[in-house]
Structures are given as C-alpha cells and as structure tokens.
C-alpha cells in the first residue's frame, strides 16, 4: 500500500467512526442526562461532558414505577412468543419441505400471501377476538396475535430444502420417523438459523408497541415499551428520571445485542433473504 493510500484509509476510518459517534450521540446524551440531578439537567452549566454521577433518578425509576412488573411481562411474553413461533414454524416448515400431503402447495401459498397482510390492519377484529376469549389485560392477549410470523417458516423451509438427502436415509433405515428426523437431524443441523430467527423474533416481540398498547390497559400488565410511556405522566417534567427509565427499558436488548452482535447481524441479513 502506498503511503498516500494509507493516509486516505486512515482518514476514511476516522470520518466513519466520527459519523458513527455522532449517530449514537442521542443515546450518549440520554445517558449523560440520566446521571445528573434534575436541577443540573435544566441549568446552563449542563455541558456535553459528564460532570456528575448521580444515580438517584435510577433508584427512583426502579422503585417508584412499575418497571419491574413491565420487565417481567416483557421477558415472559417475548420468551413464550419466541419459543412457540420457532417450534410451530419449524414443524410446519419441515412438513412443507420434506413431506407430501394434499394441501401442501396451498398452505405454502397462504404462508407467502400472509406476508403481504400488515398485522396493523387486523387490530380491530383481533381486539374483538381477544375480548371474546377474555384475554384483554392478560399475557395470552399480548402473545396470541404475535404468534404468526410467516418469515420464520419461509426461512426454515429454505434451509430444510438444502439439507442433503443422505442425512435422512440413515435415520429412516434405523426406523426413525419424521419427528425423529426433525428434532434429531434437521434441527441440530440448523442451530445457526434457529438462533438467528430466535433473535429476530425476540427483538420484534420485545419492541412491539401497537398491539400490547391496545390490548393492555392496566399498568401492572404492561410491557416495557408501553409502560414507560406512562412515566411522563407520573413524573411530570423530570428529564433525568425519564431518561433513566428509558435507558433501563432499553438496557436488556442493547446488552443482548452487544453480546450477540455477530449473530444479530447475521440474523437480520438471513431473515431478509439478502444472505442465504
């Protein structure tokens, strides 16, 4: 590499990282605000550099709001949604990919078509249904309508289609049925994609706003994204506390993302079909 190219590269790296830091600035500013006292936040001396380490607004957020309830609701519902979506998705995809039965083509077409229907257009009848099932203000009401994720089936099917037939034969010769094949061969061969789909589904349900917002009206049953919107009303104008709550609400997904960075990146690429 010539010295000029090297300097050019260094400059590009610096510019990109600087742009990235600028991009993430709102999060930094939220953090900086959250560790100040309310008085300092609105004073003229509140500069860009952290000058105070005041955790009182965090303590306030943790103990004077229902944040703990919201965490439990969010974790509980997201885990259940992710588990059911993956399990039902892989079962259905396996049948579509490896078995012959009347209605197979039709089912696959329905799955593909449902991709086009925006879930938001169904909130009215879904709400009526949840009311009929007596699931308003319950986990079941949050969970049920979020269980249809067609992309999981489409991606699983693609990956199952690509499994070499020889892998199947050994198990079939041993007298293994299709359930054995799915859970002992196809699933273990595709752990990577299962993790990826799991991450995407989890993030989606953790961050879901509109549906939980409609189906939950009591504060103790809210999920994190819905719950924290209540805090404004409760605190009035209290920026440090509002930012503390927002950051506490964001922390689990952000930390999970930072730990599983590579997996998340891959998951987004695979589930959008750009990377096979």
């Amino acid at each position: 590499m010539t010295p000029i190219r090297r300097i050019e590269n260094l400059a590009l790296t610096c510019i990109t990282i600087f742009a990235g830091l600028l991009w993430i600035f709102p999060l930094y500013w939220a953090f900086n605000t959250s560790i100040r006292s309310e008085n300092r936040v609105v004073s003229d001396e509140a500069g860009l550099i952290p000058d105070e380490f005041n955790l009182s607004s965090y303590i306030d957020a943790l103990f004077n709001t229902s944040l703990m309830d919201w965490y439990i609701n969010s974790i509980g519902t997201s885990v259940i949604i992710t588990f059911i979506v993956l399990l039902t998705g892989m079962m259905c995809a396996y049948a579509l990919s490896q078995m012959q039965f009347p209605g197979r083509k039709a089912l696959y077409l329905v799955v593909l078509a449902s991709f086009m229907v925006p879930a938001q257009a169904l909130v009215v009848p879904q709400f009526v249904l949840m009311n009929d099932l007596d699931l308003i203000n319950r986990w079941g009401g949050i969970i049920l309508p979020q269980l249809v994720v067609p992309v999981v089936i489409i991606v699983y099917k693609q990956f199952f289609d690509a499994v070499p037939k020889e892998m199947k034969e050994a198990v079939v010769l041993d007298g293994g049925g299709d359930y054995t094949l799915l859970f002992k061969v196809y699933l273990p061969l595709n752990w990577g994609i299962t993790t990826a789909l799991g991450i995407i589904t989890f993030i989606m349900s953790w961050n879901a706003f509109l549906w939980p917002f409609l189906v939950i009206t009591t504060e103790d049953m809210m999920t994190i994204p819905v719950g924290i919107t209540q805090v404004n009303d409760a605190f009035g104008v209290a920026y440090a506390r509002i930012m503390s709550v927002a950051l506490l609400a964001a922390a689990p997904v952000v930390i999970a993302y930072l730990i599983f960075q590579k997996r998340v990146t891959e998951a987004v690429m695979i589930s959008s079909g750009v990377k096979g």
Partner: protein, 295 residues
Amino acid sequence: MSMIRNNRRHKLVAYSLILPFVAIFALVFAYPVIEVIRLSFTDAPLIGSGDWVGLDNYKRLLSDRLFYTSLKNNGYFVLLTVVPTTVIALLIALAVNRLSGRMQALALVLFFTPYVLPVSVVTQIWAWMLDFQFGILQPVLEFFTGKPVPVFKNPFWVMPAVAVVTIWWTNGFNVLLFIAGLRNIPEELYEAAKLDGATSRQLFFRVTWPLLWPVTALVLTLQLILQLKIFDQVYLLSEGGPFNSSYVLLLMVYREAFQLNNGGYAAAISLVLFLIIVVVSVLQFQILRIGGRDK
C-alpha cells in the same frame, strides 16, 4: 396394503406437524382477515354486533376530510423517509464496508444500536433532544430559523422531525442489508475492473451499483411498506397534531375504533390502508424490477 397404510400414516404425521401453526394462523390471522372485511360493511361498535350497512362506511370515508388529510400525510411521510433513508444507509454501508476488523465491528455497533431500541425509548430520547426549552438541538434549530422551535407542536416541523427520528431509529437495518449485498459482490470483479484501469467512480457505477440493485430494490420496497404503516412515532411524539398535521391512516383507525367506538368504520379504514399497501408495493416492486433490467 402396507403401502396404503404407510401412506396414510405419512399424511397423518404431516398434518400433525402443520396443525399447531395452522390452528394459530386460522384463529388470529385468517379469521380476523375475514372479520375485518365483514365488519367494514357494518355499523358495529368496537365490542358488540352491528347492522349491515352496505357501502356506507366507504361512502363516509370518501367524504371524510380527515381521511384525505391522513392520506396526504402518509404520502408526505413516505417522501420524507423512504428515499432519504435508502441513500443514507447506502452511504454508511459503503463507508463501513471499507473498514476492517475491529473498526468495522465498532462502526456497525454505532450505526445499528438504535434499531434494537423500543420505539417509546426512541421517542422519549428525541423528545428530550428537541425539547423546546432545554433540548440540546434547539441551538442548531435556532441557528437556522433564528428562534427556538417547538418541533412537535409546529405544523411545518412536525413531519420532518418525525421522519428524522424514524430514520435514526430504523436506518441500521438498511445498512446491514446493504453491507450483506456488498459482501455478496465477488472481489474478482473489482480486481478485473481495476486491471482494465477503471477509476473508483467507474467501479461504483459500473460494478457496485448494478450488482447492488436487487438489494436497493428490496430496501426501497420494505421501507415503503414500513413507512406507510407509521403509527407509533406519530402517536407518541405528536398524537397526530398540531391541527392534524401529522394525522395518519393508522391513527385514524385507532381513534375511530378505540376512542370513538366505531368498529365498522375503523375496519373500513384498515382495509383501505391494506389495499394501498398491497397496490403500492406491488407497483413499486414491478417498477424497480424493470429499472433493474435496464442496467
């Protein structure tokens, strides 16, 4: 005989595998699809039955000024977000893709992290950034307009501001798609082009851009669909105001169904939104496909 029995067993196993998904799908998806259509021809309240009113809801919609306002705002929001976010994401992806190792990982984290935040966290952070009295971005606005601006309470600023927030929040996703697309372009193509003496401008317009076109088309289509469904950010930042200047179709569905108790009318609006999304995205996809063929 045993072949037939085996065959039947095979089918039963297959049906048992698809049953859980099909049952859930039928209950919370297929049935609501039929219901939303049926409801749109009735005057039903949110909870409870109504009478068949034929096309009344649709006629009412056509004479509802709020409907046209919402339609216009949905379109305006699409203009403000879809192409800008695609361009910004492409630029960022090109820059990030040139980095290597740790620096690339770091840059990706910086640009992608907003995407994993819940929407209400995003809106609260930006409401604070743009706060009329104490917002850190107010001096920037003041520089351009000469005075502080209550962005989410100003009919001119509200939609562009919501668009900025939305782009900041969702852009990381598009960056990732573009990076995946860039990685799919074989290195040999660049080397061959370089050997032929191509300039870096030519490399971009003759190699990168045409080969990246399928991803660009995908990003544009996904963004269009996503941004037509705008609700969360508008609801949380401005509640459709001021003077309905950020009122959108999904907000109308919400108001009619959950605040004014007009289930049937809300169903009709949902259905119209659904049809708009289908038509627009099919049209766009076709246009983009043709655009790709010319290259």
